[in-house]
Symmetry: C2
Subunit: 165 residues, 2 copies
Amino acid sequence: MSNPVAGLLMTWRGRVLPEWVDYNGHLRDAFYMLLFSYATDGLMDSIGLGESGRATTGHSLFTLEAHINYLKEVREGATVEVHTQILGCDSKRLRIYHSLYRSDAQLFLAGNEQMLVNVDMAGPFSTPFSPAVLECIQVLVSRHRSLPSPEHAGRHIALPGERHG
Amino acid sequence: MSNPVAGLLMTWRGRVLPEWVDYNGHLRDAFYMLLFSYATDGLMDSIGLGESGRATTGHSLFTLEAHINYLKEVREGATVEVHTQILGCDSKRLRIYHSLYRSDAQLFLAGNEQMLVNVDMAGPFSTPFSPAVLECIQVLVSRHRSLPSPEHAGRHIALPGERHG
């Protein structure tokens, strides 16, 4: 079987902490999103928008929109990792897909699509990526372009039988 | 101007804690989702799936899918509230929409659509709502049916100019 994370960027790895678990005994829905948020921080480090890059450029990324699919419960103490694919970009936006896996079994736990926007923190207002950051992003875009699109990317929420425009 | 939360259920209200704020000085994306997650707990209380209802029925709700739109930054200490609309249900699924407002100005901060499924925790496996819970849900569905659909409900993520099936 082919490796589903081959070619992707590992952007976060760690253990599920006791304070992230809810009354069902599983990682609470919001804390999946926290792991994905940390993964976005990891991605920012890779494209020159880590702490020093933010200080130099005066830019940061804001999340505009996110979609999560929850596929498996995750228990306290599990070691998990996030692998990230860049789905596209324009001059100031970045569309990405984070996939959460259990580290031992490479079991797919959840997926998260995000639309991010580059922001000049002096405003804050949206602004084009700095040239160095855009170059890093374009390298990743061209590397990830040939990978299959994630199964749950581009979804909307609907009950079975419901349709949306 | 009409009250945008009239007829909705207030499912959470509280202050933005210091530990929820990120390096941009704003509520981190994942902690918007935490407020929405608490709001789902509030909704569960209203439909007979609070702590005692979960103990009696052996059921709980799992989040299958969530979509968030981030509209405004939120600062530490702000008092915010979540108002919830039931968009639909079937025998075991619930489609809901949480709207986050700043309490003082009724400023709309973020929206979150969720698909929830009723689960028998003995499995866990999905199972129809218990009759008493379904009755509570149907009362809300009929009360909310005539309200306008939230602006961001049913969305998918795309860059400007991109199209998805």
